[in-house]
Subunit: 391 residues, 2 copies
């Protein structure tokens, strides 16, 4: 379907508007996608069980229902020109059913599965010849131990499905701990060596339904308690490594026929780059693009899923740093301290409208600056004012 036919879809409004994008999930990614949609005259409809979800609070149209129920997905699709995602928790069979009913699903369910099943992803990337850590599916303690015999203890065990922000990832020191993890994962776990990681990188790639691609600058992601805390753009790595990371990400995205926005997370090790995992949607590692790049990841995702031309991905400043706002331990709400944080010159504060819970991502702050240190210091300073905690 062309941009023109999308825009002229009849009967959806009493006033001429652009196309409607249906997004499964109504969290902060959908919220920021809605912000971007406003400028383009695109309507965003979100499927969520929560009528107070971040995207709904921002004004996206709410289709209330569960992403795990086909009827709800069909209801979203009925009012949308294309269906896309702000999370991974959607059954592949339902997505295939949507497609069979004539719904445009972007990315394709087969590609989306790479973000849903870590084992499938590793196997697919390895088959494409992309560098991945050694891995096995281990269903028994004996299989875990056999892997450890080759690669050493401790090792990392991951639930193939359902994990995010460190959930479903375990450091396993010995057979006893392996037994405990397997008890909770009867289908087996993905085991891999505990790598000696120099740093973690992320590369955003947008791929339109037309096949056009746009690759963003390579960024560093700083993790803490297995949750992304900071994004540093551009990554402080040498140019050859950055170029290799971009190339690898592009090869991956085209190799798996992904569409929409894709975040490729990479490890830098003594053995070079390795693919960690991918997300086929806007991603925390791309929040810096709102102020930091010529085209934000959210607008780019909309362009990509609607088959519109992609925008330039150039950085707007020599250094851009994003620091996440995570709910402080005392349970207080950073929104109540916003007035203080706005006093930090150049701090772009984004709050997600979520209830404050310790450890929960509630927002982020981006600072564009002349160098990494000053931008990082300002962004951290603003986050400290929001949370009342020293970073």
């Amino acid at each position: 379907m062309s941009a023109q036919s999308l825009a002229s879809r009849p009967g959806t409004a009493t006033r001429p508007i652009g196309p409607t994008v249906g997004m499964v999930g109504g969290g902060q990614l959908a919220r920021m996608t809605h912000q971007a949609a406003i400028a383009l005259g695109v309507e965003l409809a979100v499927l969520t069980e929560d009528p107070l979800a971040p995207a709904v609070g921002a004004g996206a149209r709410c289709v209330q229902g569960a992403a795990t129920e086909l009827d709800s997905l069909m209801a979203l699709a009925a009012g949308s020109d294309v269906v896309t995602f702000d999370h991974e928790r959607v059954p592949t069979a339902h997505l295939t059913a949507l497609q069979q009913a004539g719904v445009r699903v972007v990315p394709d369910p087969a590609a989306k599965l790479l973000a849903q099943d870590k084992l499938h992803a590793r196997r697919t990337f390895a088959a494409l010849g992309l560098p991945v850590p050694d891995f096995e599916l281990a269903r028994t303690v004996a299989e875990v131990t056999a892997f450890a015999t080759v690669h050493g203890w401790p090792l990392i065990a991951k639930a193939p499905r359902g994990g995010y922000d460190g959930r479903g990832v375990f450091t396993v020191a010995d057979a006893e701990e392996a037994r405990a993890v397997l008890a909770d994962h009867p289908g087996g776990v993905l085991v891999e060596p505990r790598l000696d990681i120099t740093c973690e990188l992320a590369v955003l790639v947008a791929r339109s339904t037309t096949g056009e691609t746009a690759v963003y600058p390579v960024v560093e992601t700083i993790q803490e308690d297995a949750m992304c805390r900071e994004i540093i753009a551009p990554a402080r790595v040498d140019e050859d490594l950055a170029a290799a990371a971009r190339e690898l990400a592009l090869v991956l995205v085209e190799g798996v026929d992904a569409t929409g926005l894709v975040a490729v997370e990479l490890f830098v090790t003594a053995d070079g780059l390795m693919v960690n995992e991918v997300a086929l949607r806007p991603h925390n590692s791309g929040h810096y693009t709102i102020e930091g790049c010529a085209t934000s990841q959210f607008e780019q995702h909309l362009r990509a899923v609607l088959g519109w031309p992609l925008g330039p991905t150039t950085l707007c400043a020599p250094a851009v740093v994003t620091v996440n706002v995570v709910g402080p331990d005392d349970g207080s709400d950073p929104a109540r301290r916003l007035g203080f944080a706005l006093g930090v010159p150049g701090a772009h504060v984004h709050l997600y409208g979520k209830t404050a819970v310790p450890g929960r991502k509630l927002g982020h702050v981006t600072v564009c600056g002349r160098d990494h240190d000053s931008a990082r210091s300002a962004a951290r300073g603003a986050v400290e004012l929001l949370t009342g905690e020293r970073s």
Copy 2:
């Protein structure tokens, strides 16, 4: 009221959120204010008679009613921490009544009147010692003719109230034409010489309820058929003139005790700078700030009316140009050509969700670039693709 007490106002939501800003009017200025409000976790409620107004389409909370009715204004105020504006068409008496009922109105009705009554504005600016064109209130043909005897024909006659985008402004060549204009304006018209204008400038000034001020770069506004068509930042004038324009705007804003965002429109003539008129709200001449400045005018207005610290106003690029998208003569909808315009690298397209009508402002395109010519050429190119018309 402090930012903290605003943020903790009880009983307005089942989930902790920030303050609510009530905006009179639901047009494109309110729409873009809503976009900015999302990031800050601020709720925007808009008073509009049109449930499909641009801001409502973007997700702002709609209070349906007329800005000319006190009951409607009271309904807006009842759910808001502060009341502000996206247009001028509000009776001063109603605003005073709101204040007497304890509602915070920003800007103050007395200051707002400067944007509502051109004669009052001229008199106030003249009394402050600011440079303004010669002017008189002329109620009769004899008074118009007397003014022309001193200043020459043709002269400019303006309806003191209600005009915008060239409406209510008349070029009067002789006594006969004066008679015709006066017939439609029994209260009299503001007459002024037809000035020999080198260019028109605009300076945005934000002034917080705390008294803090922030002045934006001076921009050139290019008018066509008395409607602003292009904004060129920074203005192509020498540094002394730009500094004088900024100083003049700041003196004006502080002199009239304006709060919120103020757009000061200036003429450059052989006799130097002259104040043309002011708007006490976000303004077309500030749309370039969304991508072009460290803080957009819409976020800045929210900060100012909520008493939060103001953000930096620095330009993000050597040149930023905004070109308005005006409904083409053939009545076609530029939204249907969006896919083409997005192919212009770096074109930031903003569509307002309005029904396409010839001559109506339907959106704008901003391009940040290395120099004025390339940015202007790209922005114009994108607008031509949207409208199907050569500029």
